[in-house]
Amino acid sequence: MSWFKPADVGFAARRQLAALGLGARLFVRLLGTLGTSLRRVSLVRDQIHFLGNYSLAIIAVSGLFVGFVFGLQGYYTLQRYGSSEALGLLVTLSLVRELGPVVTALLFAGRAGTSLTAEIGLMKAGEQISVMEMMAVDPVQRILAPRFWAGVITMPLLAAVFSAMGIIGGWVVGVLMIGVDAGSFWSQIQGGVDVWKDVGNGIIKSIVFGFTVTFIALLQGFEAQATPEGVASATTRTVVVASLTVLGLDFILTAMMFTI
């Protein structure tokens, strides 16, 4: 019985609940900053530039390679059924509905999310957050809010870039290298992709992931222990928590979108 202590379970549960409560309060506060962030749009613009620009290369290159692989694997499967001209449609639907938002969110968590967590954690360790509070400037409004809204705006844009690069990758492999008919490749996409059901749902997903990943990154940075070790472990937590949450949410969103 010595290994099981009910008090420890209670303590852990209470701590988790407290963390959840803190997170929920911060999320509501961040949602409430929309008005202020719109008034100081230059701060959000700078962060969009920072987050978007630095993630663009990894997103574009990853999209291209995912497209290449999809071109190969898709052709391998489709040619068994003699429908290789549907390659364009397969690549596009997979990317726009699923892989675009999800892989972008995972890459965004690894690239921009970690840099957000580290930046805010280091600001905390360097007493920059405290000094701001002492200047009567709310760090949630001045530091977190512009980054939050920038992340929410950037994510769908990056997901669009990822999907576009993926389709180009599929075209390069399918049409240029394997020799699938270019006309049927594009016309299948044109005819088979629905703007609202496919593209629209993909955009909704990436907006939800934008909220999720950016918020998790900011929360981990803001709640990090103000030491080098604290910042390091917060950065790791950002990737782990954000990735798992994105994958879990993706299943829920896909299930909901299937039933509608």
């Binding site: 280091l122 007493e127 920059q128 000094v131 002492m134 400037v137």
Partner: protein, 294 residues
């Protein structure tokens, strides 16, 4: 009727009722969990003066600054800033009070992504709607006051520790506060920077009509510039008064501190068992040791 200065009536007109103390702690207690950092502390920070807070590390000096700024809340007692109780303030009131304070953190805490100029301009841009030309003039005046007008275009990573603190000081006084708090402004500075920092605290206080509080371990400089010295020990006030009064204190703890003695009420050795027990000498003490001696 316009009255001339010097006329008793005129003086009565411009006299604003003002208490002697800008900051006053009344029976204040503060602790983290079970551990009490400040135990029923009462002290006053006289208006217009330079007050030094001294005492052994972990004695609650920085905590007092954080309590005055409302970053920590006291569990018991009152903390009056210009007559208003900081412990009872809500967020807007606290922010209004903080706009009348400037605080210099131990290592400056400059915003790493902003240049020196933008760091000093930060509070002005956040709290005022001044045109950029005017902000530029104010920033350069403040930087000139700390001798760093020429460093305006540098980034925080390009300046030394002493310079970073002077820049932070320029930022802290950007909005012309009434109270400036310095958290260990002298730690880790070379003698020249140290002398500069001490002189700046004194001169800015007098030139701008500030009230200053600083936390320090540096005896010589502190006694040289402070009007009022408070020594904290074990969560209580061990001594307070002018530097001379504190220097002449006969309290053993204050004596040890002021004269920098290694042993005294604050022991050199961390509590432990007697030396003889640790080295196995107590068993020998009776028989074997005597044989060796003989």
């Amino acid at each position: 009727m316009i009255q001339k200065p010097g006329n008793a009536g005129f003086c009565a007109l411009i006299t604003i009722p003002m208490s002697h103390a800008l900051v006053e702690l009344r029976h204040l207690s503060f602790g983290y969990g079970e551990r009490l950092i400040l135990d029923d502390v009462s002290l006053t920070v006289p208006r217009g003066k330079v007050t030094a807070l001294m005492g052994a590390s972990g004695g609650g000096k920085t905590t007092i600054l954080r309590l005055i700024g409302g970053q920590n809340r006291a569990q018991r007692g009152q903390l009056l800033f210009d007559g208003q109780d900081v412990t009872q303030m809500d967020q807007p009131q606290l922010y209004a009070a903080r706009r009348r304070m400037g605080m210099l953190f131990q290592f400056g805490a400059l915003f790493a992504d902003l240049s020196v100029f933008d760091n000093v301009a930060f509070p002005l841009r956040e709290h005022t709607q001044l045109p950029e030309a005017l902000i530029r003039d104010i920033v350069l005046m403040k930087l000139n006051a700390v001798g760093l007008r020429g460093a305006r275009d540098l980034m925080p990573s390009e300046v030394s520790g002493g310079m970073a603190r002077r820049i932070a000081l320029a930022r802290a006084i950007a909005l012309d506060p009434e109270l400036v708090m310095y958290d260990e402004p002298f730690s880790g500075l070379d003698p020249i920077s140290l002398g500069t920092a001490a002189r700046l605290i004194r001169e800015l206080n007098d030139a701008m009509g500030l009230t200053s509080i600083f936390v320090s371990h540096e005896l010589e400089q502190t006694f040289g510039i402070a009007d009022h010295v408070i020594i904290l020990a074990n969560g209580k006030i061990a001594a307070q008064g002018t530097p001379e009064e504190v220097r002449l204190s006969v309290d053993p703890l204050v004596y040890q501190y002021v004269h920098a003695l290694p042993d005294g009420p604050v022991r050199f050795h961390y509590p432990c068992v007697p030396v003889a027990d640790d080295f196995g000498l107590s068993m020998l003490a009776g028989t074997a040791a005597q044989e060796v001696v003989s």
